[in-house]
Symmetry: C2
Subunit: 616 residues, 2 copies
């Protein structure tokens, strides 16, 4: 049983399970709200106005008077029925970062991948006897021979022009994508674009009105390739063993489902109305999506087939879209710093700011970018999937039944909050960060990650100690425990990310103090508790207001490049100008990694607020 959450004035809708927060619903609908506390209810920035019934946690962040008029914190309000949610302008994510509504795209110069031009041609006669194609080209201000028309469209054109009485709408590719004719149709037809974020784990698609930039709907699904392995290395291995076609089919099947889902409220839209698709994904995902051989990405020196994927036509894509529509993939920088990171950069705007920024995409690989409008350096830390539910016994993805927040009180009482108000079945990334930080703060785990045997809830087993998070829970009534080897994996992951940041900073002779902003990207990034992430040494110990969540930067970048030629040019410049630092054989990285493999770090002077809170 799902409920519809409709956001206005965007008119974007998400279908969600009972108990989903309005903040999560907004993310699923592609409506981005301000939220700097990661959904804890403490920043008060995600205020919305509810029309309909919901459940809410009590809050002091909203005045009684406004509460009475339906104002709620989106992160503390849960869906129990269909509901309409109005998003006040002040709650929207800063313009230019994520384009989801007319108001936030209005500052962009709209030059979508496919544009439409109303055309009225003079009927030919003996004094004006230019041929059909040249007549159309003339009306579009092109030279004869300059307007590319696919041969099968050319075959249909003479009859089409006459049956439409020389009046219609030309769908055209943007100049930077060749400028060819996509279709010539009657004026009552319309086209739509889509932005696609292909993650190793999840795939998200937004339908966008190309004329207005308005977001129409968003859908997300797990990547069906998951059956072939959790991470990109496993996928490449599967492709090498003859599974390339299968992996391509699986991701295409995922996208097809998303298209069905995203289109289901727009009955007037058929496959041929989808004329433009902009895709962000890591390099391996893009290879598999396009059917390119990814083998050499995982072999030293890690060379992709291309970092600047070709723009292909709809009919080459295997997707239900206009055969002459365009599929554009955002260029990446290297085998492990892909177009999704370029998209993050675009979404953050860091490449246009004078101040120094750090961008962290906390995914399976943990990519990091440092720079400003003068330079960009990037690396991939191979952090591993510990924060995505992998490599940790009780780990799971952020889905219903996952513990997403953990708090251990001074009396060592352990409180958890669970996605979907269900009995917990495991712990997702944000919960694991909270848990590890709280164990450390309460002295239950030491700086080396060892659990303190004999303390409350800590049990000694043959393979080491474990902490009992939940005594008996879930459908099967199992315990949820965190073992020492789980902690070791979490420390390895956070150490890799932190070490990557350090190597980048040193490579350009900067210190963390000089950072003006730290952008945290990735669906995951929207939910973590900054304080706890600093406590375990995942994020640098900097003033908290410098941290900013940019949500799904890959999707936001895909929307930007779908709608703007300038953003496509910027993406190409990021590809060209970003310096990639290969960490796989880097001794500097190995040293940093070793130093960071403690809670929070061997060098406590790097974490002054943590040092204070643990009394060191």
């Amino acid at each position: 049983m799902k409920f519809k959450v409709r956001f206005i004035p965007d008119n974007a809708t998400a279908e969600v399970a009972r108990g989903t927060t309005l903040l999560d619903s907004a993310i699923m609908a592609g409506v981005d709200l301000q939220s700097t506390c990661g959904g804890k209810g403490s920043c008060g920035k995600c205020r919305v106005v509810v029309e309909g019934e919901t459940d809410s946690n009590p809050t002091t962040k909203i005045a009684e008077e406004l509460l009475a008029r339906g104002h709620r914190l989106a992160c503390q309000t849960f869906v129990v029925d269909d509901v309409v949610v109005r998003v006040p302008e002040e709650t929207r994510m800063r313009a230019g970062k994520i384009l989801t509504s007319h108001s936030t795209t209005s500052h962009l110069k709209l030059e979508p991948m496919a544009l439409e031009v109303d055309v009225q041609l003079p009927k030919p006669d003996q004094t004006d006897n230019v041929a059909d194609l040249e007549r159309l080209a003339r009306a579009l201000n092109r030279e004869a021979g300059e307007l590319h028309v696919p041969i099968d469209l050319m075959r249909a054109l003479p009859r089409r022009l006459r049956s439409l009485h020389w009046k219609g709408k030309a769908f055209l590719a943007a100049e930077d994508l060749g400028g060819g004719l996509v279709d010539f149709v009657s004026r009552d037809k319309c086209q739509v674009g889509a932005a696609l974020d292909i993650g190793t784990t999840t795939v998200v698609l937004s339908l966008v009105d190309l004329n207005s930039g308005k977001l129409l709907s968003t859908a997300s699904e797990y990547n069906k390739q998951m059956r072939a392995g959790d991470d990109v290395i496993a996928r490449i291995a599967h492709a090498e063993e003859g599974g390339l076609d299968e992996l391509q089919r699986l991701v295409l099947d995922t996208v097809k489902e998303l298209l069905r889902e995203a289109r289901k409220d727009s009955e007037t839209l058929g496959p041929c109305d989808l004329t433009a698709l902009s895709v962000a994904g890591n390099t391996t995902m893009i290879h598999l999506f396009l059917g390119l051989d990814p083998s050499y990405i995982r072999q030293d020196p890690y060379i992709p087939a291309t970092n600047v994927p070709l723009t292909i036509h709809g009919k080459e894509s295997g997707l239900p879209m206009h055969p002459h529509g365009l599929v554009y993939c955002i260029p990446g920088r290297a085998g492990f710093v892909g177009g999704d990171i370029t998209a993050d950069v675009l979404a953050s705007g860091m490449h246009q700011r004078e101040e120094l920024s750090l961008l962290i995409d906390v995914g399976t690989n943990g990519e990091v970018v440092l720079g400003n409008d003068q330079f960009l350096v990037a690396c991939s830390t191979s952090a591993g999937p510990a924060f995505e539910g992998g490599e940790v016994g009780c780990g799971m993805r952020a889905m219903s039944g996952a513990i997403e927040k953990v708090c251990i009180a001074e009396d060592l009482e352990t409180k958890v909050s669970v996605i979907g108000c269900l009995p917990p079945t495991g712990i997702c990334g944000s919960g694991l960060i909270d848990l590890l930080a709280q164990l450390f703060v309460r002295g239950l785990v030491d700086r080396k990650g060892r659990l303190q045997a004999g303390r409350t809830r800590i049990r000694k087993k043959d393979e080491g100690c474990e902490y009992l998070v939940v005594a008996s829970s879930g459908p099967t009534g199992n315990e949820i425990v965190l073992r020492e080897d789980d902690i070791a994996n979490l420390i390895r992951t956070k150490a890799a990310l932190y070490a990557g940041c350090r190597v980048l900073a040193k490579s350009v002779d900067k210190t963390f103090d000089e950072l003006d902003k730290i952008y945290i990207a990735g669906g995951f990034g929207n939910y973590i508790d900054i304080e706890n992430a600093i406590t375990i040494g995942l994020l640098p110990d900097l003033p908290r207001e410098r941290f900013e969540f940019i949500g799904n930067g890959a999707l936001a970048g895909a929307v930007q490049t779908l709608l703007s030629a300038e953003k496509r040019r910027e993406a190409m410049r990021v590809h060209e100008d970003m310096t990639y630092i290969e960490l796989s054989n880097s001794s500097a990285f190995f040293d940093e990694f070793s130093s960071a493999s403690f809670l929070p770090h061997t060098d406590l002077t790097l974490f002054p607020t943590v040092a204070r809170s643990i009394g060191s």
Copy 2:
């Protein structure tokens, strides 16, 4: 039984029937020889050196000493066995007109439609880790993202580069055709181009070495579309009745046969080696070749789908060639002045000469172009197929058994020469011109085209008089006769052509006296007797040295555009700059046509040499 005639140094070969002249053999092999008398043996320009046995008519144009060393007139020498023919430099057709050998293309800046570049890529390592495509682009001096690669080639590229040890040959489309990568292959592979002339009646194809411009082989066939009607109007009607796909298939089948034929001596060539095809044809033929709807070409105001056909890829062409190879069609000017006429203009070079020229393509439509390097005007005269064997009872195409020359002596003895030394079965265009002129000169037909009853060989029948050309001949022993209604059709055809020339000249305020050159194009044009053509009023009565045969100008133009970007640009300029004059509703044309519907013309002052010879 066919014999091989090999021309050196071209190393081009034709397979011909016994009795074929060496001049005809040279045309079939794509080797163009000087010949201004039209094969009468009177100009002496087609001198070649024979190595092997042949039959020759006696000639006074070659010194005894040279005759003893194997020198022969190509037009007076007949094939009786396999033979090797050496073409002296002075016998070649003027450079720039027809490109058939290395020596005659050497003046062209060779920028073929597809070029090849030897590439040696540095093997990637961690200090040089750009991706495969970008590595290749760099080696080709292109920016990443600028080199278009078809998606299926992109899919194969990583493995291909490594299996070739980073060394190979890039086949690339010319810059003006998009500059994309056609293929990346091992260095021992080679590519070839083809030039194609699609006539309503015959289709001719030449294979050309794209690197040297050298002509490799030539083949010709009747257009298999003939079964659907002799002229373009019949073909368009057939297409409108649902026969478009069939007509496209028929012409493609014709081209496939030509490719088989042209390739049969090059066993190393496979379909994928053909990377470039340049096509000349009239507008309807190009529409049918590309599968474009030709319906509106025959409806007032006669609008083609396009005069600037799209360059398509091999896989879209339906032909056995490289899937990413290019098919370019020479742009035309109007529904009845197509790319074949543009090709004629290129072959003649008239668009680059300061002096005024007239170009006449004596095909089914009889297109005429007048101009110089400042302007070009063109028209189509709808002359009809009388000179191609249609509309004339005894008419036939120039094939074995056709009477190609007729001479009526003062004693009215009628001598004929027959193609292939066979008993005659009919009369082809050149023979009909000879016959009508000789009948007129001998007073057997009057200026209105009426046969003089009671004279030798003239018999009176119910439907009018007829002239007995051959008493009893051919396999069936039938008589060959020319009837008065045949004569009326011949006069209509020649009158239309002449009237078209007059209208063009008047349109730009020029007289025929100002013409420096009259180019005669079309396979047909190589064989006609200028003197006789003037006698009947088909060609203007000008000094004979101003006439020049350019042979198959359509094929020559296709070869030029295959090999040269400059020629492709010139073709586009001809398309843009040539003024088309529509004659279908022109009263000026109708007046000129009426005046020209006599032998040679109502106004004998226009034909002073004819007037003298008939004593008027």
